[in-house]
Amino acid sequence: MKYMLLIFANEAGQQAASKAEVDQMMAAYGAYTQAMIKAGVMAGGDRLQPTTSATTVRIANGKTKVLNGPYAETKEQLGGYYIIDAPDLDAALSWAARCPAASHGVVEVRPIWTM
Protein backbone atom coordinates (compact mmCIF):
# COMPACT_ATOMS: atom_id res chain seq x y z
CA MET A 1 0.00 0.00 0.00
CA LYS A 2 1.07 3.56 -0.62
CA TYR A 3 0.99 6.05 2.22
CA MET A 4 1.72 9.74 2.45
CA LEU A 5 3.62 10.90 5.50
CA LEU A 6 2.66 14.54 6.08
CA ILE A 7 5.24 16.34 8.14
CA PHE A 8 4.00 19.04 10.48
CA ALA A 9 6.47 21.10 12.46
CA ASN A 10 6.74 24.52 14.02
CA GLU A 11 8.14 26.88 11.38
CA ALA A 12 8.96 29.65 13.82
CA GLY A 13 11.05 27.24 15.84
CA GLN A 14 12.90 26.09 12.74
CA GLN A 15 13.61 29.64 11.63
CA ALA A 16 15.01 30.47 15.04
CA ALA A 17 17.33 27.45 14.96
CA SER A 18 21.11 27.94 14.98
CA LYS A 19 23.23 26.91 12.00
CA ALA A 20 24.51 23.89 13.89
CA GLU A 21 20.92 22.82 14.65
CA VAL A 22 19.90 23.28 11.02
CA ASP A 23 22.90 21.22 9.85
CA GLN A 24 22.04 18.53 12.33
CA MET A 25 18.43 18.42 11.12
CA MET A 26 19.42 18.33 7.45
CA ALA A 27 21.79 15.45 8.17
CA ALA A 28 19.03 13.59 10.03
CA TYR A 29 16.61 13.99 7.10
CA GLY A 30 19.33 12.95 4.67
CA ALA A 31 19.99 9.75 6.60
CA TYR A 32 16.27 9.07 6.96
CA THR A 33 15.67 9.49 3.23
CA GLN A 34 18.65 7.26 2.41
CA ALA A 35 17.37 4.57 4.77
CA MET A 36 13.99 4.59 3.02
CA ILE A 37 15.58 4.38 -0.41
CA LYS A 38 17.77 1.48 0.75
CA ALA A 39 14.75 -0.33 2.16
CA GLY A 40 12.92 0.14 -1.14
CA VAL A 41 9.94 1.92 0.41
CA MET A 42 10.63 5.45 -0.86
CA ALA A 43 8.20 6.51 -3.60
CA GLY A 44 8.64 10.26 -3.50
CA GLY A 45 8.73 13.29 -1.27
CA ASP A 46 9.57 16.96 -1.06
CA ARG A 47 10.26 19.69 1.39
CA LEU A 48 7.95 22.71 1.06
CA GLN A 49 8.75 26.40 1.27
CA PRO A 50 7.41 27.98 4.49
CA THR A 51 3.72 28.89 4.80
CA THR A 52 4.57 32.57 4.31
CA SER A 53 4.98 31.59 0.65
CA ALA A 54 1.54 29.96 0.51
CA THR A 55 -1.42 31.30 -1.45
CA THR A 56 -4.94 29.85 -1.34
CA VAL A 57 -7.51 29.96 -4.09
CA ARG A 58 -11.22 29.33 -3.98
CA ILE A 59 -14.07 30.12 -6.33
CA ALA A 60 -17.16 31.62 -4.76
CA ASN A 61 -20.13 32.86 -6.77
CA GLY A 62 -18.14 32.37 -9.95
CA LYS A 63 -15.38 34.67 -8.74
CA THR A 64 -11.87 33.49 -8.06
CA LYS A 65 -10.69 34.53 -4.64
CA VAL A 66 -6.99 34.53 -4.01
CA LEU A 67 -5.72 34.91 -0.48
CA ASN A 68 -2.27 35.24 0.97
CA GLY A 69 -1.31 32.53 3.48
CA PRO A 70 -1.97 28.85 4.15
CA TYR A 71 -5.43 27.25 4.32
CA ALA A 72 -5.38 26.70 8.05
CA GLU A 73 -3.51 28.61 10.74
CA THR A 74 -2.17 25.92 13.01
CA LYS A 75 0.44 25.63 15.71
CA GLU A 76 2.43 23.32 13.49
CA GLN A 77 2.60 23.75 9.75
CA LEU A 78 2.81 21.32 6.86
CA GLY A 79 6.47 21.48 5.87
CA GLY A 80 6.93 18.51 3.59
CA TYR A 81 5.85 14.99 2.76
CA TYR A 82 7.05 11.56 1.79
CA ILE A 83 5.24 8.97 -0.26
CA ILE A 84 6.16 5.47 0.83
CA ASP A 85 5.21 2.00 -0.27
CA ALA A 86 4.69 -0.19 2.79
CA PRO A 87 2.96 -3.54 3.28
CA ASP A 88 0.57 -2.29 5.96
CA LEU A 89 -0.20 0.48 8.44
CA ASP A 90 2.19 -0.88 11.07
CA ALA A 91 5.09 -0.70 8.62
CA ALA A 92 4.09 2.82 7.59
CA LEU A 93 3.81 3.85 11.24
CA SER A 94 7.25 2.55 12.05
CA TRP A 95 8.71 4.60 9.17
CA ALA A 96 6.75 7.63 10.37
CA ALA A 97 8.18 7.16 13.86
CA ARG A 98 11.71 7.29 12.43
CA CYS A 99 11.06 10.62 10.69
CA PRO A 100 13.02 13.39 12.46
CA ALA A 101 9.83 15.48 12.67
CA ALA A 102 8.14 12.83 14.82
CA SER A 103 10.28 13.88 17.79
CA HIS A 104 9.65 17.63 17.57
CA GLY A 105 6.48 17.92 15.49
CA VAL A 106 3.94 15.40 14.27
CA VAL A 107 3.73 13.04 11.30
CA GLU A 108 0.31 12.23 9.86
CA VAL A 109 0.04 8.94 8.01
CA ARG A 110 -2.57 8.77 5.24
CA PRO A 111 -3.20 5.91 2.85
CA ILE A 112 -3.19 7.00 -0.79
CA TRP A 113 -6.54 6.55 -2.54
CA THR A 114 -6.16 3.86 -5.17
CA MET A 115 -8.50 3.91 -8.16
Partner: protein, 428 residues
Protein backbone atom coordinates in the same frame (compact mmCIF):
# COMPACT_ATOMS: atom_id res chain seq x y z
CA UNK B 1 -41.01 -34.01 8.91
CA UNK B 2 -40.05 -30.93 6.90
CA UNK B 3 -40.59 -28.92 10.00
CA UNK B 4 -38.23 -31.15 11.98
CA UNK B 5 -35.60 -30.78 9.25
CA UNK B 6 -36.02 -27.02 9.38
CA UNK B 7 -35.61 -27.09 13.11
CA UNK B 8 -32.52 -29.30 12.97
CA UNK B 9 -30.97 -27.10 10.28
CA UNK B 10 -31.66 -24.02 12.34
CA UNK B 11 -30.18 -25.58 15.46
CA UNK B 12 -27.07 -26.74 13.63
CA UNK B 13 -26.63 -23.35 11.99
CA UNK B 14 -26.99 -21.70 15.38
CA UNK B 15 -24.51 -24.04 16.99
CA UNK B 16 -21.99 -23.41 14.22
CA UNK B 17 -22.67 -19.69 14.45
CA UNK B 18 -22.00 -19.70 18.16
CA UNK B 19 -18.80 -21.75 17.99
CA UNK B 20 -17.44 -20.71 14.67
CA UNK B 21 -18.72 -17.25 13.76
CA UNK B 22 -15.59 -15.37 14.83
CA UNK B 23 -13.34 -17.95 13.23
CA UNK B 24 -15.08 -17.63 9.88
CA UNK B 25 -15.13 -13.81 9.98
CA UNK B 26 -11.48 -13.75 11.03
CA UNK B 27 -10.44 -16.07 8.21
CA UNK B 28 -12.29 -14.08 5.55
CA UNK B 29 -11.39 -10.64 6.92
CA UNK B 30 -7.72 -11.43 7.45
CA UNK B 31 -7.40 -12.21 3.75
CA UNK B 32 -9.37 -9.28 2.39
CA UNK B 33 -8.99 -6.61 5.13
CA UNK B 34 -12.73 -6.18 4.62
CA UNK B 35 -14.42 -6.92 7.94
CA UNK B 36 -17.84 -5.60 6.93
CA UNK B 37 -17.69 -7.56 3.67
CA UNK B 38 -16.78 -10.73 5.56
CA UNK B 39 -19.70 -10.26 7.95
CA UNK B 40 -22.15 -9.63 5.11
CA UNK B 41 -20.96 -12.65 3.16
CA UNK B 42 -21.20 -14.83 6.24
CA UNK B 43 -24.71 -13.73 7.09
CA UNK B 44 -25.73 -14.52 3.51
CA UNK B 45 -24.12 -17.93 3.90
CA UNK B 46 -26.11 -18.58 7.08
CA UNK B 47 -29.31 -17.57 5.29
CA UNK B 48 -28.43 -19.93 2.42
CA UNK B 49 -27.82 -22.75 4.93
CA UNK B 50 -31.29 -22.38 6.37
CA UNK B 51 -32.72 -22.95 2.87
CA UNK B 52 -30.29 -25.63 1.70
CA UNK B 53 -29.76 -27.86 4.73
CA UNK B 54 -33.39 -28.89 5.33
CA UNK B 55 -33.54 -30.04 1.69
CA UNK B 56 -30.11 -31.60 1.12
CA UNK B 57 -29.28 -32.53 4.68
CA UNK B 58 -26.72 -31.02 7.01
CA UNK B 59 -23.25 -31.16 5.40
CA UNK B 60 -20.58 -33.27 7.07
CA UNK B 61 -18.54 -30.18 7.80
CA UNK B 62 -20.99 -27.29 8.27
CA UNK B 63 -18.20 -24.76 8.89
CA UNK B 64 -16.47 -25.60 5.61
CA UNK B 65 -19.82 -25.42 3.80
CA UNK B 66 -20.51 -21.97 5.21
CA UNK B 67 -16.96 -20.86 4.43
CA UNK B 68 -17.24 -21.95 0.80
CA UNK B 69 -20.53 -20.09 0.31
CA UNK B 70 -19.32 -16.97 2.11
CA UNK B 71 -16.09 -16.98 0.12
CA UNK B 72 -17.98 -17.09 -3.18
CA UNK B 73 -20.29 -14.32 -2.02
CA UNK B 74 -17.27 -12.17 -1.17
CA UNK B 75 -15.70 -12.80 -4.54
CA UNK B 76 -18.98 -11.93 -6.29
CA UNK B 77 -19.34 -8.75 -4.27
CA UNK B 78 -15.76 -7.66 -4.98
CA UNK B 79 -16.26 -8.35 -8.69
CA UNK B 80 -19.36 -6.20 -8.73
CA UNK B 81 -17.51 -3.43 -6.91
CA UNK B 82 -14.28 -3.36 -8.87
CA UNK B 83 -14.53 -5.31 -12.08
CA UNK B 84 -11.04 -4.10 -13.00
CA UNK B 85 -8.01 -6.25 -13.75
CA UNK B 86 -6.19 -5.48 -10.54
CA UNK B 87 -9.16 -6.49 -8.47
CA UNK B 88 -9.37 -9.74 -10.41
CA UNK B 89 -5.73 -10.54 -9.61
CA UNK B 90 -6.26 -9.88 -5.97
CA UNK B 91 -9.35 -12.05 -5.94
CA UNK B 92 -7.66 -14.88 -7.74
CA UNK B 93 -4.95 -14.99 -5.11
CA UNK B 94 -7.53 -14.95 -2.38
CA UNK B 95 -9.57 -17.70 -3.97
CA UNK B 96 -6.48 -19.85 -4.47
CA UNK B 97 -5.46 -19.58 -0.86
CA UNK B 98 -8.97 -20.29 0.31
CA UNK B 99 -9.14 -23.22 -2.09
CA UNK B 100 -5.87 -24.58 -0.71
CA UNK B 101 -7.02 -24.36 2.86
CA UNK B 102 -10.40 -25.80 1.97
CA UNK B 103 -8.65 -28.71 0.27
CA UNK B 104 -6.61 -29.54 3.34
CA UNK B 105 -9.49 -31.41 4.93
CA UNK B 106 -11.50 -28.25 5.50
CA UNK B 107 -9.13 -27.17 8.20
CA UNK B 108 -9.84 -23.51 8.86
CA UNK B 109 -6.91 -21.75 10.51
CA UNK B 110 -7.79 -19.81 13.63
CA UNK B 111 -7.20 -16.13 12.86
CA UNK B 112 -9.31 -14.79 15.71
CA UNK B 113 -6.34 -13.47 17.64
CA UNK B 114 -5.12 -11.65 14.53
CA UNK B 115 -8.58 -10.16 14.08
CA UNK B 116 -8.63 -9.08 17.74
CA UNK B 117 -5.30 -7.33 17.34
CA UNK B 118 -6.66 -5.51 14.28
CA UNK B 119 -9.78 -4.43 16.23
CA UNK B 120 -7.72 -3.23 19.19
CA UNK B 121 -5.10 -1.50 17.03
CA UNK B 122 -3.99 1.89 18.41
CA UNK B 123 -5.21 3.44 15.13
CA UNK B 124 -8.77 2.49 16.16
CA UNK B 125 -10.54 4.75 18.67
CA UNK B 126 -10.13 3.28 22.14
CA UNK B 127 -13.86 3.64 22.89
CA UNK B 128 -14.94 1.38 20.05
CA UNK B 129 -12.38 -1.44 20.36
CA UNK B 130 -14.35 -3.59 22.81
CA UNK B 131 -17.54 -3.14 20.79
CA UNK B 132 -15.72 -4.05 17.60
CA UNK B 133 -14.39 -7.26 19.15
CA UNK B 134 -17.88 -8.14 20.37
CA UNK B 135 -19.25 -7.71 16.89
CA UNK B 136 -16.54 -9.35 14.83
CA UNK B 137 -15.52 -12.24 17.10
CA UNK B 138 -18.86 -12.96 18.74
CA UNK B 139 -21.31 -11.77 16.11
CA UNK B 140 -23.28 -9.40 18.36
CA UNK B 141 -25.43 -6.99 16.38
CA UNK B 142 -25.05 -3.24 16.80
CA UNK B 143 -28.31 -2.90 18.75
CA UNK B 144 -27.25 -5.47 21.35
CA UNK B 145 -23.83 -3.86 21.74
CA UNK B 146 -25.38 -0.40 21.93
CA UNK B 147 -27.69 -1.39 24.77
CA UNK B 148 -24.82 -2.98 26.68
CA UNK B 149 -22.67 0.14 26.33
CA UNK B 150 -25.59 2.52 26.92
CA UNK B 151 -25.39 4.14 23.50
CA UNK B 152 -28.02 4.66 20.84
CA UNK B 153 -27.98 1.87 18.23
CA UNK B 154 -27.41 4.37 15.42
CA UNK B 155 -24.44 5.99 17.20
CA UNK B 156 -22.92 2.59 17.94
CA UNK B 157 -23.55 1.36 14.44
CA UNK B 158 -21.84 4.46 13.00
CA UNK B 159 -18.80 3.96 15.21
CA UNK B 160 -18.53 0.32 14.16
CA UNK B 161 -18.84 1.15 10.47
CA UNK B 162 -16.19 3.85 10.74
CA UNK B 163 -13.82 1.51 12.56
CA UNK B 164 -14.23 -1.22 9.95
CA UNK B 165 -13.64 1.27 7.16
CA UNK B 166 -10.53 2.43 8.93
CA UNK B 167 -9.17 -1.11 9.11
CA UNK B 168 -9.61 -1.54 5.37
CA UNK B 169 -8.60 1.91 4.14
CA UNK B 170 -5.62 2.44 6.41
CA UNK B 171 -4.30 -1.08 5.88
CA UNK B 172 -4.37 -2.09 9.53
CA UNK B 173 -2.67 -5.49 9.55
CA UNK B 174 -4.24 -8.71 10.80
CA UNK B 175 -1.35 -10.06 12.74
CA UNK B 176 -0.15 -10.80 16.23
CA UNK B 177 2.56 -8.20 16.84
CA UNK B 178 6.20 -9.16 17.33
CA UNK B 179 7.36 -9.69 20.85
CA UNK B 180 8.96 -6.23 21.25
CA UNK B 181 5.79 -4.38 20.25
CA UNK B 182 3.38 -6.83 21.82
CA UNK B 183 3.22 -4.98 25.15
CA UNK B 184 1.05 -1.98 24.29
CA UNK B 185 -0.98 -3.86 21.69
CA UNK B 186 -1.74 -6.78 23.98
CA UNK B 187 -2.75 -4.28 26.63
CA UNK B 188 -5.35 -2.86 24.24
CA UNK B 189 -6.70 -6.36 23.49
CA UNK B 190 -6.87 -7.26 27.19
CA UNK B 191 -8.46 -3.92 28.02
CA UNK B 192 -11.14 -4.49 25.40
CA UNK B 193 -11.85 -7.98 26.75
CA UNK B 194 -12.03 -6.65 30.30
CA UNK B 195 -14.44 -3.94 29.11
CA UNK B 196 -16.67 -6.66 27.65
CA UNK B 197 -16.58 -8.58 30.93
CA UNK B 198 -17.15 -5.49 33.07
CA UNK B 199 -20.22 -4.50 31.09
CA UNK B 200 -21.67 -7.88 31.96
CA UNK B 201 -20.43 -7.75 35.53
CA UNK B 202 -22.21 -4.43 36.15
CA UNK B 203 -25.47 -6.36 36.15
CA UNK B 204 -24.70 -8.66 39.07
CA UNK B 205 -28.18 -10.07 39.42
CA UNK B 206 -27.95 -11.36 35.88
CA UNK B 207 -31.44 -10.04 35.32
CA UNK B 208 -30.51 -8.68 31.94
CA UNK B 209 -29.67 -11.73 29.92
CA UNK B 210 -27.75 -9.71 27.40
CA UNK B 211 -25.38 -8.32 29.99
CA UNK B 212 -24.94 -11.63 31.73
CA UNK B 213 -23.92 -13.04 28.37
CA UNK B 214 -21.31 -10.29 28.10
CA UNK B 215 -19.58 -11.51 31.27
CA UNK B 216 -19.55 -15.06 29.90
CA UNK B 217 -18.33 -13.90 26.51
CA UNK B 218 -15.60 -11.85 28.17
CA UNK B 219 -14.38 -14.96 29.96
CA UNK B 220 -14.61 -16.93 26.73
CA UNK B 221 -12.44 -14.35 24.95
CA UNK B 222 -10.06 -14.34 27.92
CA UNK B 223 -9.73 -18.12 27.67
CA UNK B 224 -9.12 -17.84 23.95
CA UNK B 225 -6.32 -15.30 24.36
CA UNK B 226 -4.79 -17.20 27.29
CA UNK B 227 -4.78 -20.40 25.23
CA UNK B 228 -3.28 -18.69 22.17
CA UNK B 229 -0.68 -16.72 24.16
CA UNK B 230 0.07 -19.07 27.09
CA UNK B 231 3.42 -17.38 27.76
CA UNK B 232 1.90 -13.95 28.41
CA UNK B 233 1.46 -13.52 32.17
CA UNK B 234 -0.99 -10.63 31.85
CA UNK B 235 -3.27 -12.67 29.58
CA UNK B 236 -3.35 -15.33 32.32
CA UNK B 237 -3.75 -12.62 34.98
CA UNK B 238 -6.80 -11.15 33.26
CA UNK B 239 -8.44 -14.56 32.95
CA UNK B 240 -7.72 -15.23 36.65
CA UNK B 241 -9.24 -11.87 37.58
CA UNK B 242 -12.42 -12.52 35.59
CA UNK B 243 -12.80 -16.06 36.94
CA UNK B 244 -12.40 -14.84 40.53
CA UNK B 245 -15.11 -12.24 39.99
CA UNK B 246 -17.38 -14.70 38.20
CA UNK B 247 -16.93 -17.24 41.02
CA UNK B 248 -18.71 -14.88 43.40
CA UNK B 249 -21.61 -14.04 41.10
CA UNK B 250 -24.07 -16.27 42.95
CA UNK B 251 -23.20 -14.71 46.31
CA UNK B 252 -23.61 -11.07 45.32
CA UNK B 253 -27.37 -11.12 45.79
CA UNK B 254 -29.50 -12.81 48.43
CA UNK B 255 -32.68 -14.78 47.84
CA UNK B 256 -34.72 -11.60 47.52
CA UNK B 257 -32.34 -10.00 45.06
CA UNK B 258 -30.81 -7.69 47.65
CA UNK B 259 -27.15 -6.65 47.39
CA UNK B 260 -24.71 -8.51 49.63
CA UNK B 261 -21.31 -6.83 50.18
CA UNK B 262 -18.22 -8.98 49.80
CA UNK B 263 -17.56 -9.14 53.56
CA UNK B 264 -21.04 -10.58 54.22
CA UNK B 265 -21.15 -13.04 51.35
CA UNK B 266 -21.88 -16.70 52.05
CA UNK B 267 -18.66 -18.47 51.03
CA UNK B 268 -20.60 -21.64 50.32
CA UNK B 269 -22.08 -19.81 47.34
CA UNK B 270 -18.67 -19.09 45.83
CA UNK B 271 -17.80 -21.33 42.90
CA UNK B 272 -14.83 -23.33 44.21
CA UNK B 273 -13.98 -24.74 40.79
CA UNK B 274 -13.63 -21.32 39.21
CA UNK B 275 -11.60 -20.08 42.17
CA UNK B 276 -9.22 -23.06 41.91
CA UNK B 277 -8.78 -22.41 38.21
CA UNK B 278 -8.10 -18.72 38.85
CA UNK B 279 -5.56 -19.53 41.56
CA UNK B 280 -3.78 -21.97 39.25
CA UNK B 281 -3.58 -19.38 36.46
CA UNK B 282 -2.28 -16.72 38.83
CA UNK B 283 0.39 -19.05 40.12
CA UNK B 284 1.51 -19.86 36.59
CA UNK B 285 1.54 -16.16 35.64
CA UNK B 286 3.51 -15.32 38.78
CA UNK B 287 6.20 -17.85 37.89
CA UNK B 288 6.92 -15.93 34.67
CA UNK B 289 8.41 -13.03 36.58
CA UNK B 290 6.62 -10.07 34.97
CA UNK B 291 4.08 -8.40 37.22
CA UNK B 292 1.25 -6.39 35.70
CA UNK B 293 -2.04 -4.74 36.50
CA UNK B 294 -4.28 -7.74 35.87
CA UNK B 295 -2.14 -10.14 37.87
CA UNK B 296 -2.17 -7.67 40.78
CA UNK B 297 -5.92 -7.20 40.63
CA UNK B 298 -6.37 -10.96 40.50
CA UNK B 299 -4.02 -11.22 43.50
CA UNK B 300 -6.37 -8.90 45.44
CA UNK B 301 -9.22 -11.31 44.69
CA UNK B 302 -7.01 -14.16 45.77
CA UNK B 303 -6.33 -12.40 49.10
CA UNK B 304 -10.11 -12.14 49.64
CA UNK B 305 -10.53 -15.83 48.98
CA UNK B 306 -8.10 -16.58 51.81
CA UNK B 307 -11.19 -16.04 53.94
CA UNK B 308 -12.24 -19.60 53.09
CA UNK B 309 -9.34 -20.84 55.23
CA UNK B 310 -8.81 -18.10 57.82
CA UNK B 311 -12.25 -16.50 58.11
CA UNK B 312 -10.86 -13.11 57.08
CA UNK B 313 -9.55 -11.46 53.92
CA UNK B 314 -5.79 -10.91 54.03
CA UNK B 315 -6.05 -7.13 54.33
CA UNK B 316 -2.33 -6.59 54.90
CA UNK B 317 -1.59 -8.24 51.56
CA UNK B 318 -4.42 -6.32 49.90
CA UNK B 319 -3.04 -3.00 51.15
CA UNK B 320 0.41 -3.87 49.81
CA UNK B 321 -0.97 -4.86 46.40
CA UNK B 322 -2.94 -1.63 46.16
CA UNK B 323 0.21 0.32 47.07
CA UNK B 324 1.88 -1.14 43.98
CA UNK B 325 -1.24 -0.73 41.81
CA UNK B 326 -1.65 2.90 42.88
CA UNK B 327 1.85 3.72 41.63
CA UNK B 328 1.35 1.67 38.47
CA UNK B 329 -2.07 2.94 37.38
CA UNK B 330 -2.61 6.27 39.14
CA UNK B 331 -6.29 5.26 39.10
CA UNK B 332 -8.75 6.90 41.54
CA UNK B 333 -10.63 3.61 41.88
CA UNK B 334 -7.43 1.90 43.03
CA UNK B 335 -6.78 4.76 45.46
CA UNK B 336 -10.26 4.34 46.97
CA UNK B 337 -9.78 0.60 47.37
CA UNK B 338 -6.39 1.24 48.95
CA UNK B 339 -8.05 3.52 51.52
CA UNK B 340 -10.59 0.80 52.31
CA UNK B 341 -7.75 -1.69 52.85
CA UNK B 342 -5.94 0.80 55.11
CA UNK B 343 -9.10 1.16 57.17
CA UNK B 344 -9.03 -2.62 57.71
CA UNK B 345 -5.36 -2.77 58.70
CA UNK B 346 -5.03 0.49 60.65
CA UNK B 347 -8.55 1.58 61.51
CA UNK B 348 -11.19 3.84 59.91
CA UNK B 349 -9.45 7.11 60.85
CA UNK B 350 -6.36 6.08 58.85
CA UNK B 351 -8.60 5.02 55.96
CA UNK B 352 -10.37 8.38 56.05
CA UNK B 353 -7.03 10.17 56.04
CA UNK B 354 -6.10 8.25 52.89
CA UNK B 355 -9.42 9.28 51.32
CA UNK B 356 -8.87 12.90 52.37
CA UNK B 357 -5.62 12.89 50.46
CA UNK B 358 -7.69 12.19 47.31
CA UNK B 359 -10.36 14.79 47.95
CA UNK B 360 -8.49 17.41 45.93
CA UNK B 361 -9.34 15.54 42.76
CA UNK B 362 -12.47 17.26 41.43
CA UNK B 363 -13.45 14.16 39.44
CA UNK B 364 -14.10 12.29 42.66
CA UNK B 365 -17.11 14.46 43.41
CA UNK B 366 -19.03 12.24 40.99
CA UNK B 367 -17.50 8.94 42.02
CA UNK B 368 -20.14 6.81 43.70
CA UNK B 369 -17.56 4.46 45.19
CA UNK B 370 -15.67 7.36 46.76
CA UNK B 371 -18.76 8.54 48.64
CA UNK B 372 -19.84 5.00 49.55
CA UNK B 373 -16.39 4.25 50.97
CA UNK B 374 -16.30 7.58 52.76
CA UNK B 375 -19.75 7.06 54.24
CA UNK B 376 -18.89 3.58 55.55
CA UNK B 377 -15.62 4.76 57.12
CA UNK B 378 -17.18 7.88 58.64
CA UNK B 379 -19.94 5.72 60.12
CA UNK B 380 -17.40 3.32 61.58
CA UNK B 381 -15.53 6.28 62.96
CA UNK B 382 -18.70 7.50 64.66
CA UNK B 383 -19.04 10.65 62.56
CA UNK B 384 -22.74 10.15 62.04
CA UNK B 385 -23.63 13.50 60.54
CA UNK B 386 -20.82 13.53 57.98
CA UNK B 387 -21.54 9.87 57.20
CA UNK B 388 -25.20 10.69 56.64
CA UNK B 389 -24.28 13.31 54.06
CA UNK B 390 -21.81 11.02 52.33
CA UNK B 391 -24.45 8.25 52.19
CA UNK B 392 -26.87 10.67 50.60
CA UNK B 393 -24.38 11.50 47.83
CA UNK B 394 -23.48 7.83 47.33
CA UNK B 395 -27.15 6.88 47.04
CA UNK B 396 -27.80 9.71 44.61
CA UNK B 397 -24.94 8.61 42.37
CA UNK B 398 -25.68 4.84 42.41
CA UNK B 399 -27.41 3.50 39.28
CA UNK B 400 -28.09 -0.03 40.61
CA UNK B 401 -31.38 -0.08 42.59
CA UNK B 402 -30.27 -3.06 44.74
CA UNK B 403 -27.09 -1.27 45.82
CA UNK B 404 -29.13 1.88 46.38
CA UNK B 405 -31.44 0.01 48.74
CA UNK B 406 -28.42 -1.46 50.54
CA UNK B 407 -26.91 1.99 51.07
CA UNK B 408 -30.27 3.32 52.26
CA UNK B 409 -30.48 0.47 54.80
CA UNK B 410 -26.97 1.21 56.05
CA UNK B 411 -27.79 4.87 56.31
CA UNK B 412 -30.96 4.38 58.34
CA UNK B 413 -29.33 1.70 60.55
CA UNK B 414 -26.63 4.18 61.37
CA UNK B 415 -28.85 7.08 62.33
CA UNK B 416 -31.17 4.77 64.24
CA UNK B 417 -28.32 3.30 66.25
CA UNK B 418 -28.53 4.62 69.81
CA UNK B 419 -24.86 3.93 70.60
CA UNK B 420 -23.62 6.02 67.69
CA UNK B 421 -22.03 9.11 69.07
CA UNK B 422 -21.03 12.09 66.94
CA UNK B 423 -17.39 12.14 67.96
CA UNK B 424 -14.45 12.10 65.61
CA UNK B 425 -11.66 10.77 67.83
CA UNK B 426 -12.82 7.16 67.87
CA UNK B 427 -10.69 4.57 66.22
CA UNK B 428 -12.01 1.26 64.97
Amino acid sequence: MAQEDDELARQTAEAVARRGYGKLVAFLAARTSDVAGAEDALSEAFAAALIDWPVHGIPRNPEAWLMAVARNRMIDAARRRHGGERAADHLRLMAEEMEASAASQAYIPDDRLRLMFACAHPAIDANVRAALILQTILGFDAAAIASAFLLSPSAMSQRLVRAKNKIRQAGIPFRVPEREELGERLEAVLEAIYAVFSEGWSDPAGTELRRRNLAEEGIWLGRLVASLLPEEPEALGLLALMLHAEARRGARRDGRGEYVPLADQDMALWDAKLIDEAEGLLLRAGSMGVVGRYQLEAAVQSAHVVRRRTGRSDWAAIEQIYDVLAVMTNSPVVAINRAIAIAETRGPAAGLAALDALALDAQLAEYQSYWAARAALLARNGEVEAADQAYQLAIGLEPDPAVRRFLQRRRSEMSGRPEARPTSDQTG
